[in-house]
Every structure is written in structure tokens, then in C-alpha cells.
Subunit: 218 residues, 2 copies
């Protein structure tokens, strides 16, 4: 009989994440773990960033979803190399899934690999995928109290991208409040406010990513 403790699984994940990271480094690929609630606007943000980064960085995507391939189809439409992972019920990606998906991509053609995690503000926080940066995407319509309710995901992330700021006139959302809460949890985190449909703030996020990506390449 084999017994595998949860702690050991997490340790195995960390080892595999380190291997993923080394493989990405060797291939010269900079990887993002993009997390957020269902419908926070992760895919729409990536579409806008890739358009902004055209000619600067060659994108690739790993899409994580419980079921379906809607997001991967959107990426194919804009000509971005993409692999869809269906987790079949699992509430987050892990390093093993990403390793398998990565084999389906030609990493020589990719500078910036966005790994779009399952829409989940809780379970995604515990699993390193081997990425260089983790980015939380939070939409204005989700409310400004989310850092208090879901601290772990913000604590381990390098940036907060507040999406859908075009909806601000119709919502009771205090960007200063969530920014202060996130800065308490992650003092080094960059905070951006964007509207992917209107284009606000996309250039700032794109420049920040290009700079992070370039600094590592030096």
C-alpha cells in the first residue's frame, strides 16, 4: 500500500515547479501565472497586453479550465500559440500539468508565456507553477473587500491588476482601499488599474512586463 501525504504532494509540486522554472530559463521564456476569480477578465487582459506587446515580445499561452476550450479558442483567433489544460474538476493548475502542457508548445517561438490559471481566488494560491511572476487580476465589480477575505493569493503575488475600471461610475468600488489592503499583504507588489475594452492602463502593464522580462534576460 502506498500512502502519499498532502505535504509530500506539495513538496513534489515545488520540486517540479523548480524544474519547470529551470526549463523556462534555459529556453529564454519569461512566465506569468495569471490568477483571479471567474470572470475577473484574465483572458481579455491577456488579449489587450499581447496586442500592446506586438513586435516586442512573442507571446504563448497555457489555458487552465475545469472544462471547455473557450479561452484557448480566443487565443487561436488572435494567432497566439496556446495549449488548453482541462483539469476535469481540479480547482487549480499544478506544476505537473504545466510541465505536460509546456511540452506541447515550441518554447523557441515564445518570449512571454502566460499561464492562465483556473478562475479561483483560493486554491491557486498554494501551487507554484515555476513562473517568474504571479499576477492577480481583480475586477472592480468584485468589490474592494477581496484582499481582506482572500489574503493568501495577494500575499504571494508580484502585481495586482484592477480590471474593468470603465465600470467605476456605476459601482461602489474604492481603489485606494483595495490598494492599501494589498500593499499591507505584499508591500512590493505593483498595482495597476486598467480597462481592457477601453485600453486604459494597458500600456503601463505591458511596459512593466517588458521591463521585468528584459531585466531577467540581461
Amino acid at each position: 500500500m502506498k500512502i502519499v501525504a498532502a505535504k509530500k504532494i506539495l513538496k513534489m509540486n515545488d520540486q517540479l515547479a523548480a524544474e519547470n522554472h529551470a526549463a523556462l530559463e534555459a529556453a529564454g521564456v519569461f512566465a506569468l501565472n495569471v490568477v483571479g476569480s471567474p470572470g475577473a477578465g484574465k483572458t481579455t487582459l491577456l488579449e489587450a497586453l499581447f496586442a500592446q506587446l506586438k513586435g516586442r515580445l512573442r507571446p504563448g499561452v497555457i489555458e487552465g479550465d475545469i472544462a471547455g476550450s473557450i479561452d484557448a479558442e480566443r487565443m487561436e483567433t488572435i494567432g497566439v500559440p496556446v495549449v488548453q489544460i482541462n483539469t476535469d474538476g481540479a480547482c487549480h493548475l499544478d506544476a505537473h500539468m504545466v510541465a505536460a502542457a509546456g511540452k506541447e508548445l515550441d518554447l523557441r517561438e515564445i518570449d512571454l508565456l502566460a499561464i492562465e490559471n483556473v478562475g479561483n481566488l483560493v486554491c491557486t494560491s498554494g501551487f507554484d507553477l515555476g513562473e517568474h511572476l504571479r499576477i492577480v487580476v481583480l475586477s472592480t465589480s468584485e468589490g474592494d473587500d477581496k484582499a481582506v477575505k482572500y489574503p493568501a493569493i495577494f500575499q504571494g503575488s508580484q502585481a495586482l491588476v484592477i480590471t474593468k475600471i470603465d465600470l467605476l461610475p456605476y459601482l461602489n468600488f474604492d481603489a485606494q482601499r483595495i490598494t492599501a489592503d494589498v500593499k499591507r499583504l505584499a508591500p512590493e507588489a505593483a498595482v495597476f488599474q486598467v480597462s481592457a475594452v477601453r485600453g486604459d492602463g494597458i500600456a503601463e502593464v505591458a511596459d512593466w512586463l517588458a521591463e521585468k522580462c528584459g531585466r531577467r534576460a540581461r
Copy 2:
């Protein structure tokens, strides 16, 4: 050494959920399991429903959150008996947590017990709490593709409440699409469209709840 398999834990949960259900029945309490993404508008919906049901049903609430007590404080403000569960990282409530929280409420003073689950469209789907009805709350700003991406939570629910319809003019959200997708997964599910801030549709959900609650009491 004790080994507890995941299947056995789920079975234990189901047994405890059945005990919760029997205890609720004995006390004449009708219980809702309210699930949805972070920021879908679960608490705001409950506030609006309780105002609408004033004089008809006496409400009580169990609030489930990873951390904090923001939602419980909101319920206290409107004078509703409430117990806050902090799951301390766990991504969903289970029957055991609800049993413990229920002991902190005087069930003789409650007709309708709303159990507001952790904001999570994935993990909450696997755990029966002993409720009479499970209701998925989905905001228009989350997008109309959620039933395809997160089928399990819709499949096991008795109603879909689409919130924030006041934002429809500013979004690309097709209510017919999500309704058709949900009806495929759960043909018997009731579907409502509401704006809790504006009041649209709240009476319909309240009447439906009162009717479900009354029918069981007969």
C-alpha cells in the same frame, strides 16, 4: 497509523449533511446554500431578500469566509442573527463546519437560514451542507460563459440568480446564452435576473423562496 481516504471524507460529509438536514427539519428551518464567485453579490442579494421578506420569514445567516468578518458585520448591521465561519484557508464550507456554526444560532428564531459559502465556483460544488436548496449567484460582469467553464456547480443547483443587471448596458453579457447553458445542465433550475441595488427582480426571488419554504412546511 490512521489513513483516511478522500472518498471516506466525502462519505462522512454526506452523513453529517444528512444529520444537519434532519436537525433543520426538526427545528422547522429552511436552509439555502448560497454559492458563487468572489464578488458575485451574494451578501448584497441576501440583504435585499431579507428586506423583501420582512414580516414573512425570519432570517438567519452562516457566513463562510477564508478570513475576516466583513459580511457577518453587514448582517449584524441589519439585525439578522449571524455566525461567521473562518475556514482558515479552506476553499469551501463542509457539513461539519455548518453543524458547529448551527449550534451558535437559536434555530427557534429562524425560518430561513442562508449559508453563504466561500466565494468559489469550483470547490463548493462537491460538499452537501444539509441545505434544502443550493443557489448559484452569478454577476453579469463575470461573463456569460461560466456554465461551460464551471459546469458542476450549476448542475447541482436549484436556481441561478443573475445579479448586477443594472450593469447590462455597459457589458457584453448575453443572459439568454447563460440561461440556455444552465438549463442544459439543470433543466429544473429556476433562473432569475436581479439588481439588488436597484431592486429589480428581488420580489420574484423572495416569492419563490417563500413558496419553496411554505410548501415544505405543509
